[in-house]
């Protein structure tokens, strides 16, 4: 999955593809030979639910 993460990181910093259509992105993934890796990556992300809050809420009074 490391290759897929590197691919995503490159995508995130490439203005020519960052906001590309779903079709273009699918084509890029296919050309990079990462279809299976991306599927595995998405499955991993869905299984590993992360809690994102960093603020506990109001102080006790």
């Amino acid at each position: 999955m490391g290759n897929a993460i590197e691919f995503l990181a490159r995508l995130g910093q490439d203005a020519s593809v960052r906001h590309a259509s779903d079709e273009t992105l699918a084509s890029l993934v296919s050309e990079a030979g990462l279809v299976e890796a991306m599927t595995a990556l998405r499955a991993h992300a869905e299984q590993s639910h992360y809690f994102v809050g960093q603020m506990p809420g109001p102080q006790p009074e």
Binding site: G2, I5, L8, G12, H44, F51
Partner: protein, 269 residues
Amino acid sequence: MANPPDAPQGSLVCVGVGMTLGSHLTPISKSEIERADVVFAGVSDALVEMWLRGMHPDVRSLQPYYAEGKSRRRTYEEMVEAILTEVRSGKRVCGVFYGHPGIFALAPHRSIEMARAEGYEARMEPGISSEDCLYADLGIDPGLLGCQHFEATQFLLHRRNVDPAAWLFLWQVGQVGDLSLGKLGTGEPYRQILVDVLARHYPLDHPVIIYSVPTLPIEAPSIRRIQLADLPGTHITTSDTVALAPARALVPDEEIRSRLASLRRSEVA
């Protein structure tokens, strides 16, 4: 900058990776991650954490500190202690947090405060926050009409002076009203109370935007438009922010305008 000669050796810097993988990491934050001895990761999802692991061989996730039913206050205290333990052992520590490490983030502020109090060098590097992305994706300029930001539960618990002529942004609505601080999300009855409070200032058909930033560069921002009355029955995640557009026009302050005009006239004369 090196520690002063008499300062303890450990150090701490808290940085933000921004919201979207690959797009938002600043050069200075990347450099801090790479030169650290130990990296602690409080990020938004498993893929961002994997990305971080590609930048440093010793990345320690802060995610295991969360648990359903456990007070988030205790969770954040344990995060701070884990970070400070490494600083005290003389390590150069980097705390990496999603978004901006100083916005709606207790552990980074507290860690830096405690490290400094104990004589260690500690500071923060800003990151691109959810708020920054919101302005870009929703096309809102906070300077135009002004805006107010509140943590949703705090907003419920206190009588705030809401200005309906400005934008109103409510954060952490997914956990609104959780007084136990241990729930990973609250439901419809809690959001109904929020709507009842908002209805003091806005009509029930007032437009509401529910916004969240994509964490992956292959995703688009989530922008849902509903009416205020529909907020309780709408699925809200912990990543969602609720935005209410201004409900009325700005009211001119004629007295102040007159004083400023007098000043201007006296300067011209």
